[in-house]
Subunit: 367 residues, 2 copies
C-alpha cells in the first residue's frame, strides 16, 4: 500500500475514527486504525466491537493495499509533521514508512487481516435530522444516564420514533431527561436503546455549526449514523426500556416561572459549600414573590433571595441535590423556565409548554 494525503486531511480524519479506539484493551488490533486503499478510495476505520467508525479520506493512491497502524502513535506522528503532503507506505508484513519532506518515520504496524469489519447495515428507511439537532439532543440528555450501572438499560438512551415525533429519554434513578423533536416527515416506528458511549462519541464528531443532515438507520441489533463521508455503526442495548409515561403526571399544586440564568447562577454558587461526599441539599422556600434559596454545610452557609416572574398555587419548601438542578438548567436554552411541583416528596418538573423538553428531578429529604 502506498498513498499520499495532506497533513490537514489526515489530522481531521484520524480525529474522527479515533473516537472508536478504546483507551484500554487486551486486544492490540483494536488500538489500530485500519487504512484501506482500493478501488480509487482511501478509508480509515476503527472498531471497538461495540462502536465502529469508518470515514473516507481524500488523497492519491499510488498502490492499493491496507495497513493497521497503532492509532495513538499514528495520530501523534502526523500531528508533529511539517504542514505538507504525507506519504504512507506499508508492506505485507505490516511495517510502515511515513514520509513528510525530509522526515522519515518507520513504525511496526499490525496485520490488517486481524481487523474486524464493521457490521453491514442496509441503507433502508433513513430517519433524517440535522447534525446540529442530533448533537444538541445528545448533549441535552446524556448527563442523566448512569454510565456504570449494572442495569444496562440505564447506560443508554431510549430513541423512540412514532410518526413524525422523535423522543429521546435518559434516566439514572434520580431524574429523567426527555427531549422531543418534530421530524420533517413521518417515519416507521422505532423503539431502541442506544449506548451512551456511542452517543457521547458521536456528539464530539458532529459539526455543531452544520445544517447538514445525518441519516439514522435502525435494525434489530444496530443503529447506523451516516453524515458527510463518515458512518458510525453501534450495537444496541437489548431489553425493554423503563415505562416512564406513568411517572409523567401533569398535575401540579405549585408553578413558578423564573429567570433561568439567575436560578442557575445561584445554585452554582451554593455548590461551593458542598463536597462531593456529603449530600447537602439546596432548599427552595417558594413564596409568592420570591424563592429563598438556602444551603447549610460543614463549610458554611449561603442564603439568597431570587425574584420570581410568576407564581401560581401553594407556597412550598422543597430540597434538591443541587447538581441535578444545574445539569438540567445548563442545557435549557430558554431565558425563563417553568418549574412544576406537587409537594415536598414528589418530583419537580422543569418543562416548556409544548413539552419539547421535560426534566423530572426527585427531591431529597432536608429535615
Amino acid at each position: 500500500m502506498k498513498l499520499i494525503c495532506s497533513k490537514s486531511e489526515l489530522i481531521k480524519k484520524i480525529g474522527i475514527v479515533i473516537k472508536a479506539v478504546p483507551s484500554k484493551t487486551t486486544m492490540p488490533i483494536l488500538e489500530c486504525i485500519l487504512i484501506k486503499a482500493q478501488a480509487g478510495e482511501i478509508s480509515f476505520t476503527a472498531n471497538d466491537m461495540e462502536l465502529g467508525i469508518e470515514t473516507k479520506v481524500e488523497g492519491v493512491i499510488l498502490e492499493d493495499g491496507k495497513a493497521a497502524l497503532e492509532a495513538k502513535l499514528f495520530s501523534d506522528i502526523v500531528r508533529k509533521l511539517p504542514d505538507a503532503d504525507v506519504e504512507i507506505e506499508a508492506d505485507s508484513a505490516g511495517r510502515a514508512v511515513i514520509t513528510c519532506e525530509r522526515s522519515v518515520f518507520r513504525i511496526a504496524g499490525r496485520d490488517p487481516d486481524e481487523f474486524s469489519a464493521i457490521p453491514v447495515v442496509e441503507k433502508e428507511f433513513p430517519v433524517t435530522v440535522s447534525q446540529l439537532t442530533l448533537r444538541d439532543v445528545i448533549q441535552q440528555t446524556i448527563f442523566s444516564i448512569a454510565p456504570n450501572d449494572t442495569n444496562k438499560m440505564m447506560t443508554g438512551e431510549l430513541f423512540e420514533i412514532e410518526n413524525d415525533r422523535w423522543k429521546v429519554v435518559s434516566l439514572d434513578g434520580h431524574r429523567i431527561s426527555i427531549r422531543q423533536v418534530q421530524l420533517r416527515e413521518p417515519a416507521d416506528p422505532v423503539k431502541v436503546i442506544v449506548p451512551g458511549k456511542t452517543l457521547s462519541e458521536i456528539a464530539k464528531i458532529l459539526d455543531g455549526d452544520s445544517q447538514d443532515d445525518v441519516m439514522m438507520y435502525f435494525t434489530k441489533n444496530h443503529v447506523m449514523f451516516e453524515f458527510g463521508k463518515t458512518i458510525v455503526v453501534s450495537r444496541l442495548i437489548e431489553g425493554n426500556y423503563f415505562r416512564i409515561d406513568q411517572m409523567l403526571t401533569t398535575d401540579h399544586m405549585t408553578k413558578v416561572t423564573i429567570s433561568k440564568r439567575e436560578l442557575l447562577d445561584c445554585i452554582d454558587r451554593a455548590t461551593l459549600l458542598v463536597k462531593e461526599s456529603d449530600k447537602k441539599p439546596i432548599i427552595m422556600n417558594i413564596k409568592d414573590e420570591s424563592i429563598e434559596m438556602k444551603i447549610d454545610s460543614q463549610i458554611g452557609s449561603m442564603d439568597e433571595e431570587l425574584a420570581v416572574e410568576e407564581k401560581e398555587g401553594r407556597d412550598l419548601m422543597i430540597g434538591f441535590n443541587p447538581r441535578y438542578l444545574i445539569d438540567a438548567l445548563r442545557v435549557i436554552d430558554d431565558e425563563t423556565v417553568g418549574l412544576y411541583f406537587v409537594n415536598s416528596k414528589a418530583p419537580c418538573f422543569i418543562r416548556d409548554e409544548k413539552l419539547s423538553y421535560i426534566y423530572l428531578i426527585l427531591p431529597v429529604n432536608f429535615v
Copy 2:
C-alpha cells in the same frame, strides 16, 4: 472588620497572594489569606514560611480589623459571585459574612493572630529591572533546576550581580543554563541562591506585557521583590553555589549555525518515539552541509536531514537526551542558533556571540 471591594479587584488580588498558599500543609493557618483593614489601607497576605506575598487592595473600609479566611474557599466564593461590589465582614471570633447583592455566604475563618508576619526587609540599595526582563530570565532558566534534589543548591538559581552585570544560573547535573542581563546602572555585588519555587510563583504574577519596574532587595537571608502594589519576600538557600566557570570552556572543534525552528521541530517529532522510562538519545551526525538526525527505539525509528547554515571544523557524531535540547531551544528567541562542540564526550554549548545566554548540555553515550 468590614470592607467593600469590587469583585474584579478581589479576584485579581486573591490571584496574586494565593501563589504563597501551600497546597499541602499540616498548619491550617497557612492555608489562609490574611485580610487587614487599617490606617485607611486594605491588604491581603499569604505566607508559607519560605515565601510570603503581600498586596494592597483597593476598596472602602467601613470598620478596621483583620480576618484570616481559607484561601481556596474565599477564592471560589468570590469567583462565583455576581459582578458587583462585595462586602466582607468578620467578627473577633473569626466568623465571616460575604455579601454580594442578594447572596449571603457565612463561613468560619481562623484567628488572624495565629498568622505569621512576613519578614521585614529594609528597602535599601534596590536592583531595578523591568517586570518583563525578570519574568523572561526566570522562564529561560527555571527548567534546568532539580526541584527534588537532596542537594538544596540544585533546587534554586544563582543570582550574581557584579557592577552592571546580572547573571542567573541553574543546573541539574546534566546541563547548565545561564542568562546574563545588562543592568541600567551598577549595583553592589550580590551572590545568592533564590529558591526555584519562589521564582516559579513570581513568574506567574509578573505582568509580561509590562515595562514597569521590579525592585529587588537582597539581605543575608532574604530577597524581596517589589512591583506595583505587591511585595514578595523569600528565604534564600544557604551555601556556596557550584563553581561553574571552570566548566565553561570557550574552545571548540566544531561549530554549527542552524535554523532554531527547524532543529526544534525535528527533535520534537523525534521524542514521539521515546517513552519517559527509556532513555534513547537523539543522534546528530554533523557533516559539512547538513546534520543527519536519527532516533531508534522500540516504538520505531526516525531519520531526518537538516540543512545547516554554516559549519566550521570537524565532522562529528554525538548523542543527546532530546528533552534537554528541546528545553533550551524553546526559550531562545533567536532565529538561528550556534552550537559548539569539542568531541562526542564533551558538553555541547548553545550560545550567542555576546553570551547573553549559554546552555551547556552533556552528551550521552549512544553506542
